[in-house]
Symmetry: C2
């Protein structure tokens, strides 16, 4: 991808591993545990046919014209309502609507980092964040996590280690709820501690929360944002609870960030699709969205359970599978010496695909881990996928036997 | 806008002067010659009510879900048809659909420039390009233009001058058709010369063409792209011919740029709004779009003529007004010693607004120039605006009389 006209930065943009596996997952008969797409059949979007037609008929000159830089009038309040449903409190004037929360991350990367700067992120982390950071020449330093999420002791250690090298991270990027790719949530009692560590070290936090609404059961944890709204930049999205194809997300930004974020968004896209914004506004304004989302979350829970209960008995000794209580993903760690990239070949032979773990690390680790998405297939298909994965594990294990013994 | 958490880059994002004048232009009774918005009443968008409803009903799982990285299937061919209507020939596989052509410019800036690199651009140039370049720390060096557009001799001189300083521009950014802000088009005979100068100097060209379809009469000029599709990156948009609120634009990229551009777009927004893309596709596929666009262009021509014919007799000696043959803008140069920022105060007193010229230069020049947009007001309102502007010119001229004489 090198060419004399391309900047050094151009080589930093890497293909998404999810896109890479996509072709495989489209093969007939394949059970895909790869993509992190919401199942739109659960999101009940029939109302949108009429809403879109009405928006164009009645408000065409507004929803088809250039829109306001911070977002469509009325959408900020709707977003505040969505956040409040999770117990997150923000003022409408803190909200910058973005063309997907992915763009919010891109804009924040421009505004917080110079090339060569450092960002902290969970180990593993969202592959799309790695892509943005890589493209901007921002160095990702991972922070260890366990079943309760990001480890405060590991965060402190990493900050101290970097400080000894003269490096101060410019931000912590974290997905605290139903984390992508592991499905793990950050324990409530760790949250104020994480914020306090960052506050003392002068490190702002990017709290990326696309999955928080998709709890399978009770999930009342405080947002990181609630402990210090001037330190924590909160990202939300309509992609998982409504429709990713509209590309509407948002940032709730501290006061010091609002004006730069608006100007950076205007510079990048002028405004997000106004028709999309109007549909997101209507999604909230028409009411009933919480029930729809709760119904979808319950179904995702059934899917997670179908995958878990079938797969767990088939795992080899030394393997570990996370038990998510919300979101789209679980995370499988293979025994020492196994390779998830190697296993993928056997899995494809068995007609099941997943995303190997190395994609979720900046440092190439994760070789014996992989992500399983259960969001898009029905429970019986997930059970079938788990059975196939079990056969793939057996086949792969066979190749590991010492030759000739 | 400085804060310890913000990067140095954050101060490079500047407010759009068009947004600044926007508040003024919204005052009741104001004639706005400020914004460059298309008049959607001319774009005949009633068909879109049904098209949007049908897309959601029949193709909901596609248009509401994450979409392909290079754009919606079928849209590339539709874009090729749009380009062909202007005599520009491109292959579907060269097309990267973007969330507005503004984002294409942002992505190109990431891919072609490092901070401190140089870009060439007309003097004056599109203010949104100045915003993107400024945010990325790219230094804009202007190239003089006259009534036939960018001057080849000035381009050669600027390249030589910079070379003597050890600086090689990384690209030329140009709006060759009905240029924003001047309305001027690059003469046909200059086009191969411009491309050849850049080719010899190893400078790729960004040919930004949002207005080319909006010729008032015959306008058959070759694109820069046609002379060297491996050197010229062509940007197009549905914003002016269809609906800016959808945010759909594109780049037709040389082979060396396609993969990096796709990855950079995926990194920034995953994909553009898929529903928006489907409506853009339908706009072309349903047929009749050329007639609609031609009808709109003819009306814009009547508006340009209404503004011109009323304003010209009211101009002071030494003033000059460009005579656009397409697009949305004309450009007024005041006599020596006059200030367009100063005139704006008198104009607002007379209830008419425009965008002062300094906004369209990176170097603060343009103080006696300003942009007049005629796209959004009816002819009789434009005549009224011209009369008001004439009175403002008189009032402003009065303040310039030497005191006490």
């Amino acid at each position: 991808m090198s060419h004399p006209f391309l900047s050094d930065a151009a080589v930093g943009f890497l293909p998404s591993p999810v896109r890479d596996v996509w072709e495989l997952s489209m093969q007939p008969g394949m059970v895909s545990l790869a993509g992190g797409n919401p199942d739109l059949r659960l999101n009940d979007l029939g109302w949108m046919e009429e809403a879109a037609a009405r928006a164009i008929a009645e408000r065409g000159p507004e929803v088809l014209q250039y829109g306001a830089g911070t977002g469509l009038a009325g959408l900020h309040e709707a977003i505040v309502e969505v956040m409040a449903a999770e117990g997150v409190h923000a003022a409408p004037e803190s909200i910058q609507v973005t063309a997907g929360s992915q763009l919010a991350l891109d804009l924040l990367t421009k505004l917080l980092f110079a090339r060569g700067d450092t960002v902290l992120a969970e180990a593993p982390t969202y592959v799309g964040a790695l892509g943005v950071f890589g493209g901007a020449g921002v160095v990702v330093e991972h922070v260890g996590m366990d079943d309760d999420g990001l480890r405060p002791d590991a965060l402190r250690e990493q900050i101290d280690r970097l400080a000894a090298l003269g490096r101060r991270p410019r931000a912590l990027y974290t997905v605290p709820n139903f984390h992508n790719p592991t499905g793990i949530s950050l324990a409530a009692e760790r949250r104020p501690e994480i914020v306090e560590i960052c506050r003392q070290a002068g490190i702002p936090i990017i709290e990326d929360n696309p999955y928080g609404q998709l709890a399978f059961g009770e999930h009342r944890v405080p947002s990181l944002h609630s402990f210090d709204p001037e330190l924590v930049i909160y990202l939300g999205s309509f992609s998982k609870i409504m429709a990713p194809g509209l590309r509407v997300g948002w940032a709730s930004a501290p006061a010091w960030l609002r004006r730069p974020l608006q100007l950076a968004s205007e510079s990048a896209v002028i405004c997000p699709s106004v028709l999309s914004q109007e549909l997101a506004r209507a999604f909230v304004a028409r009411g009933g969205w919480r029930e729809t989302v709760a119904g979808a979350a319950a179904e995702y829970g059934r899917r997670a359970e179908a995958l878990q209960s079938t797969l767990l008995p088939l795992l080899p000794a030394g393997a570990a599978l996370t038990a998510p209580r919300g979101g789209f993903f679980s995370w499988l760690t293979l025994p020492e010496g196994w390779s998830s990239a190697g296993l993928l070949d056997d899995a494809v032979d068995q007609r099941v695909v997943f995303v190997p773990g190395a994609s979720f690390y900046a440092d190439g680790s994760g070789e014996r881990q992989f992500r399983l998405a259960y969001s898009l297939e029905a429970p019986e298909r997930l059970e079938e996928g788990a059975l196939r994965l079990g056969r793939a594990l057996d086949a792969y294990a066979g190749t590991l036997e010492p030759a000739g013994l």
